[in-house]
Amino acid sequence: MNNETLKLNKNKILVPAILLPIWFLLYFNLERFAILVVDSVLKLQQDNHLTSAISFFIFEVPKVLLLLILIVFVVGIIRTYFSPERTRKILGGKKLFAGNVSASLLGIVTPFCSCSAIPLFLGFVESGVPLGVTFSFLIAAPMINEVALVLLFGLFGWKTALMYVSTGLIIAMFSGFVIGRLRLEKYIEDWVYKTKVGNSEIEITKISFPQRITAGVDAVKDIVGKVWIYVVIGIAVGAGIHGYVPENFMASLMGKSAWWSVPAAVVIGIPMYSNAAGIIPVVQALLEKGASLGTVLAFMMSVIGLSLPETIILKKVLKIQLIVVFISVVAVGIIIVGYLFNLIY
């Protein structure tokens, strides 16, 4: 390594190391900053709808964006330690249940994009990962994502964020286990077993620490660059609801007393495809107006966990029967979780 690249590598670590304390300084002074802007700069009247909506917006937007940058950066670094190949190797010899547990956990940290779902499916199934275990992975990977985690943490607090991760894991484990038990291998398209999956000869080069940092920075550019606008729009809509919609407006529609609200939320949520960034701020505002947490969580999970585009992609490798089973099992799992939360809270 010559001097110049060495200097470059140093910078790659130095810059995030300097930015980190600045991040904390900003994050923990946001409330003061927001109050300052609303009271002194904008000179808004207290206690009216507009002020309430604007304060909400001014405080929440930078807060969520800051959280998003930090978490996406950290997750980006963590993901460099995992690859689909490694995950496949780990899952290869696993039996049902133990396999479902590991697959769901690995689904969180393994880099995954729904456009790669098919190569991944083929790679897993052909190298002997059981179908049910593969499904646990395919369910956990999109359902538990870092953007949703950040938004839930930022807008609802750590308890809800933790519940989201744990129930997401349970749904992925349970659904994969059920699918495995049902022995549905015959409903995989015939060409899948005829295809020969190659052994990639690509040598896995050792990644240096500065390269992992760069991966984190790239993840921030990529993901935050894509979702920030949805976050802002989502929070703006949320702010509108926050300021203008009367309390308890949603109670009769999405409240606890409406027993049908959980399955209805799931049925509406499945064909909807939105990233978590857009949907969660809206949902948070609804919650404030009397919607119940279980219903809201069920809605969110069905929106981000089960999506029409992903199902269409999977249709290439799965026969319709298996797709129906997949969607129903996951939907039932989400509904159970929804009722459970409505019961507890």
Binding site: P84, E85, C115, G123, T195, V197, G198, E201, I202
Partner: protein
């Protein structure tokens, strides 16, 4: 030299294809760039993440979009 971009049609795959074509053109490299969308062919290279970059039947990268200078050095056979 034969360059293949493996990918179904996601945004990343299109970005990589455009990038490779640009690098090839700008540096006057004698290479034929081809996009492979057939799934069985894609998995026959053993990759589990798209897009994949294959140069003379060797997988160079997958799942990411490599930097320009990295692509160039691969194309030059370094």
């Amino acid at each position: 030299m034969k360059v293949k971009i493996l990918g179904t049609g996601c945004k990343k795959c299109q970005t990589l294809e455009a990038k490779v074509r640009e690098v090839v053109q700008q540096n006057n490299i004698d290479a034929k760039v081809e996009k492979v969308t057939d799934l069985s062919t894609i998995v026959s290279y053993g990759i589990m993440m798209t897009p994949g970059l294959v140069i003379d039947e060797k997988v160079k990268s997958y799942g990411t979009i490599p930097k320009d200078d990295q692509i160039l050095s691969w194309l030059k056979g370094e």
